[in-house]
């Protein structure tokens, strides 16, 4: 049975900010050839034998992104504006994450890309190939071996360590956007630490559903100051955000970079009488038996039979190998 094949049918999650902007498993590959011509690829003549600059972006752009990353690290959870560049892929493919990865990667890195936990989706494979070709980095599917991991919508199950960087692809960086569309207003609310609207929204959830219904992109407060959108990861992953690795977030179309340094306090918003619950499907993984992982529901035949398997394909495969 090909798990990869089955994943093609995985339904899109309906977390906020997802509607209509997340091409997933589209048929086409990213076309590298044209953008890598000398004329438009920010070529650096100093690169020996290179037809484009190291990690694709020109040095001035990488410096600008690097400065934004450092300010993001200095102000955890705050969204730093940056001048997002055109990348040779559409916005829904994670251009923000790709630019952050490009600014971070060195030739010594081992690079991993996951798309909703899987290394083998078209999107993940394309981004991996992109940096193999432009930065000459080694790539890996093993979480433990990777030094830079770019992710769309998951945090790996294997705990990350010092020396690793997790780069999130972010569609909508502003957690208040769906409550207040005006940028000037959301800026003011962050400046004044005025997060009343967010609490009202969560409380309305409770009034309507008896619990906080938000399952993805569940808002967090970082180091007791900024309310932040963790990107559309399942809330199951929220507790993992207090980790030893550096977390960087890139939103390409929205032109924002933000960061969480290692060991930073990340608290999911909740209420005393309705505490945050990470939640988990009441099943074990059908392939590796794990009882503590985030599971995908997979339709296994035309009759609608279904099974639950780890969304993190590397974690699942590693457990199966260990058991074999």
């Amino acid at each position: 049975m090909s798990l990869a094949g089955l994943r093609q049918g995985k339904p899109e999650h309906a977390g906020h900010g997802e509607a209509g902007e997340q091409p997933h498993e589209v048929a086409a590959d990213i076309h590298f050839a044209a953008p890598f011509s000398k004329e438009n690829a920010g070529m650096d003549e100093s690169v020996p034998g290179g037809a484009y600059n190291f990690a694709y972006l020109d040095e001035e752009t990488k410096r600008m992104i690097r400065r934004a990353i450092l300010k993001g690290i200095a102000i955890p959870g705050y969204q730093v504006p940056f001048a997002s560049r055109e990348m040779p892929m559409p916005y829904g493919w994670g251009t923000g994450g790709v630019q952050v990865s490009a600014a971070c990667l060195t030739p010594d890195d081992s690079f991993k890309v996951i798309d909703q936990g899987a290394d083998d989706t078209t999107n993940a494979v394309s981004i991996r190939k992109f940096f193999e070709r432009t930065a000459g980095v080694e790539t890996t599917e093993r979480t433990a071996e990777a030094t830079v991991i770019q992710t769309r919508h998951r945090i790996p199950e294997t705990p990350l360590t010092e020396g690793q960087i997790l780069v999130y692809q972010v569609p909508i960086p502003e957690p208040l956007r769906f409550l207040e569309p005006r940028e000037t207003e959301t800026r003011r609310m962050h400046a004044l630490e005025d997060y009343g609207l967010m609490h009202v929204k969560l409380y309305e959830d409770i009034a309507r559903h008896g619990e906080i219904a938000t399952a993805y992109a569940y808002p967090v407060k970082v180091e007791g100051r900024y309310v932040m959108d963790p990107s559309p990861i399942p809330k199951f992953d929220n507790p993992k955000m207090e980790m030893a690795a550096i977390q960087l977030f890139g939103a390409g179309r929205e032109q924002r970079i933000y960061a969480i340094p290692p060991y930073t306090r990340v608290v999911s918003l909740d209420f005393e009488d309705h505490p945050f619950v990470a939640g988990k499907a009441p099943h074990d993984c059908a392939l590796c038996g794990a009882s503590d992982t985030y599971l995908d529901e997979i339709i296994t035949d035309d009759a609608g039979s279904r099974m639950y398997v780890c969304s993190d394909t590397d974690h699942c495969a590693t457990r199966q190998e260990a058991a074999a």
Binding site: V47, K71, A74, C104, D108, R187, E223, P261
Partner: protein, 185 residues
């Protein structure tokens, strides 16, 4: 030394490694990182590397009087193109601790845009994990760094999320101190 010398031999690769060292240092206050590949007239290797990695024509620089020289200006102009300005207009500042002050003269960011603040590249005699106790983001329990003083960092932390950020340089080593760090004497 002429201006042309002292830059990265392989800019994209050396800058990428240098940035990772600065990122690790800033993300883990107290962590001392080693860097290599640049030498500006009158600056440490570390300060030279940080300058080449982060500074360019879009980032005005203040040069404190203890490092300012025609040779350094020439080197900066050739390798970075950064305009040299007064403290208040600078995105980066270079110099020794005493000559860089007062901290209040630099851009501290605004409530809506706290990132619009200066980063100070501070030359110090040595870096070691002793002296001031550091806690906060990036630090699992506590870290130690020999800071030039304590009072200024307390005042800087008190205005969080506004404030300036620091990269301390000694020889080929550097350490970061973001505004988020809590410093105790």
């Amino acid at each position: 030394m002429i201006a042309l010398e002292g830059g990265f031999a392989d800019v994209p690769v050396e800058a990428s490694r240098a940035f990772r060292a600065v990122l690790e240092a800033m993300a883990r206050p107290g962590r001392i990182e080693a860097v290599t590949g640049a030498q500006a007239p009158g600056l440490s290797v570390a300060a030279s590397v940080v300058a080449l990695t982060l500074i360019d024509g879009t980032t005005p620089v203040f040069l404190a009087e203890d490092v300012d020289s025609p040779a350094l200006r020439q080197w900066l102009a050739f390798h970075t193109g950064a305009p040299v300005v007064a403290r208040g207009a600078a995105m980066f500042a270079l110099g020794g601790w005493a000559a860089l002050g007062p901290l209040g003269a630099y851009a501290q960011g605004t409530p809506e845009y706290p990132d619009r603040s200066a980063t100070l590249i501070v030359e110090v005699q040595r870096l070691e994990n002793a002296g001031a106790k550091l806690t906060g983001p990036g630090i699992e329990r506590e870290a130690w760094l020999n800071l030039p003083e304590v009072e200024a960092f307390l005042a800087n932390r008190a205005q969080f999320p506004l404030g300036v950020d620091f990269i301390f340089c000694a020889g080929d080593r550097l350490a970061g101190l973001p505004r988020s760090t809590r410093v105790e004497g």
